[in-house]
Point group: C2
Chain length 364, copies 2
């Protein structure tokens, strides 16, 4: 059996707590003979800053590049609010994305039937919801130069950020969206602000041309990002795959995941381009953040983190059946009524992070 | 009695239809001796393009500058999808904002009690909701240079947009937010992406300093824009005034207005700085767009447009009592069960644009 090289980067806040439950699942998979792993662990974010004064060390970057997949927890917290811009916790995450060229961020927004009631939206609006946001992750305003603050004198400063997109960047992320749509409900909604931004004009043009050239079998619609935000609230089930840029994707995917009432449940995948052998760099992480307000209490929901391991097994390690098995175990535990605090209805008892991890392993 | 100079720019789509109802209200106010107007009408957006080949003529810009307030309908539609970037319908709106220096865009998201059921959110989440989004309107990525598309050869193009903010731009919009919070529930939430954008770093710094210097009596919280999008869906009532930049404000205010289930109901104000005499340039417009899909059918909801006139009376014309009277009439009509199609529950009869306008005048 192939041995899979995983790098675990637990990060900050609840990251290490939920990563413990991933290790529990990994240990069980090995014992059951379902998969074999070579596990490395590293530091990222505030944890790396405290240890090394940077948001990720060169040694850990090298491990990330050598791994079959990176399993990432979460970064950031008030403790590092005042560290320098270049060594802030988020810089570690952004460097991983950029240096591994993880241009495609897949963020499913899925409403677990057992949890439809937990949403702030009416059950009929979100029951059965299954959207996939495909977010461009290595371009746009996140990385464009100049990105500066200049002192103009007179007590005035000027801040500049630059949104840059080249044709090939738009083309490759749109291709991922079209290909994924073919495996789903065959519809892609492309979101930008072409009425205000030149990058939106180019985005719309490139997506339209690629569609005409290679994906005419997929339904394509264009929507302004502000209008999409509204429509996601009004009637989200009209969407299948949504493709958008780095910044709009950041906001719209958070919005979409909150619709489901299940944000502690949602994993995400960040993928690079496939090489000649079909292998691609990849990183898997929960959609939720480091939640410093509940860190250290052992009450965080580990399902998004364990679901991220399942996504890694499916998309990077060729172990789709094992991924199915984990996802079935998660659903079974939810159907049995087990809930961490974030998804427990008011007045009902909640189980701990470790109890949820143990319950999932028991269901396996 | 002072005569108020208004410029009506109905624009495209449902714009002219809902503007008719504003004229109906204006005629009634004059007949009742409540206010005296000198009304001019002009063209903007696609309508101006069709007539003059530009999105607003110099003559209409001059009228706008000379007016006490501009009442704006909506612009855009598929008919003008392929006109040049500089003469597209939205360019007229952006030029009005920029040339009149309307830096402060006030967008209330208010849930009318009679309409709480129309929201896709659970009634308890939106009942009584009353948020005010204060959006910076003349800076950021909307106007920053360079803003270009360059041909790189090899079939590649590069699109660039530039987000630029200076200290004074952030300061003046934050001051508006703090001042308005004092007249409401005394809380301001400032949203940016300081973890990724330098403009977010400066934004947070300037808002923090202004608060410490002049508004310590107001509660201030900072929130990342993606996290705010989530929290607006989860529990919007935690907010009072939200202040944010042009692009985030575009998306977040559309999102917030959709929470209320009442998007056809919401007016907005765009204000410039006050001169020595306390006079400021101003423009009032519905939050909704030109809705080309329902244009020409006489079924659009004119309430946001009539509410925009009420806002103008209150903020620009010194006629707060007349504004109150219009808003009371709108509420009375809703309480009486009158509904246009967008807010009529399924299976119940809807009235037309003109019938709604007439009902509001009757209630006056
Ligand atoms: C932590 C932060 C830099 C990051 C982002 O803005 O991309 C996060 O919000 C995310 O969506 O993964
Ligand atoms: C029409 C468009 C240019 C405009 C904007 O993006 O500002 C609109 O969405 C708005 O919010 O007023």
């Amino acid at each position: 059996m192939a041995t899979h090289k995983l790098l675990l980067l637990a990060g900050d806040g609840i990251g290490p707590e939920v990563m413990e439950e991933v290790k529990r699942v990994i240990a069980w998979l090995e014992k059951a003979g379902l998969a074999s792993f070579a596990i490395e662990e590293g530091l990222v974010g505030g944890a790396a800053y405290d240890a090394h004064g940077v948001s990720i060390s060169e040694a850990d970057m090298a491990l990330a590049k050598a791994s079959d997949a990176v399993i990432f927890g979460a970064v950031g917290g008030p403790k590092w609010a005042d560290v320098g811009y270049d060594v802030r916790p988020e810089a570690g995450l952004l460097r991983l994305r950029k240096d591994l060229e993880l241009f495609a961020n897949l963020r499913p927004a899925l409403c677990y039937p057992a949890l439809a009631e937990a949403s702030s939206l009416k059950p009929e609006v979100v029951e059965g919801l299954d959207i996939l946001i495909v977010r461009e992750l290595t371009g746009g305003v996140y990385f464009g130069e100049p990105k500066t603050i200049t002192d103009l004198g007179n007590g005035q400063k000027r801040a500049i950020d630059t949104q840059v997109y080249d044709t090939f960047e738009i083309e490759r992320i749109a291709a991922v969206a079209f290909e994924l749509a073919r495996t789903r409900r065959n519809k892609v909604t492309s979101a930008e602000k072409h009425n205000v931004m030149k990058s939106g004009v180019l985005w719309k043009e490139v997506v339209t041309q690629l569609h005409a050239r290679a994906f005419q079998d997929v339904e394509l619609e264009h929507q302004l990002a502000d209008s999409l935000a509204m429509q996601l609230v009004r009637w989200p089930k009209q969407y299948d795959v949504i493709v958008t840029d780095n910044l709009f994707g950041d906001i719209l995917s958070d919005l979409a995941s909150m619709l489901t009432g299940s944000i502690g449940m949602l994993p995400s995948a960040s993928l690079g381009a496939a090489d000649a052998a079909g292998k691609r760099a990849s990183m898997y992480e929960p959609v939720h953040g480091s939640a410093p307000d509940i860190a250290g209490q052992g009450i965080a929901n580990p399902i998004a983190m364990i679901g991220s391991l399942a996504m890694a097994l499916r998309y990077s390690l060729g172990k789709g059946e094992v991924a199915d098995r984990i996802e079935t175990a998660i659903a079974a535990v939810l159907d049995a009524g087990k809930r961490t605090a974030d998804i427990a209805p008011k007045g009902t008892p909640a189980i701990s992070t470790a109890e949820m991890g143990a319950a999932i392993v028991a269901a396996l």
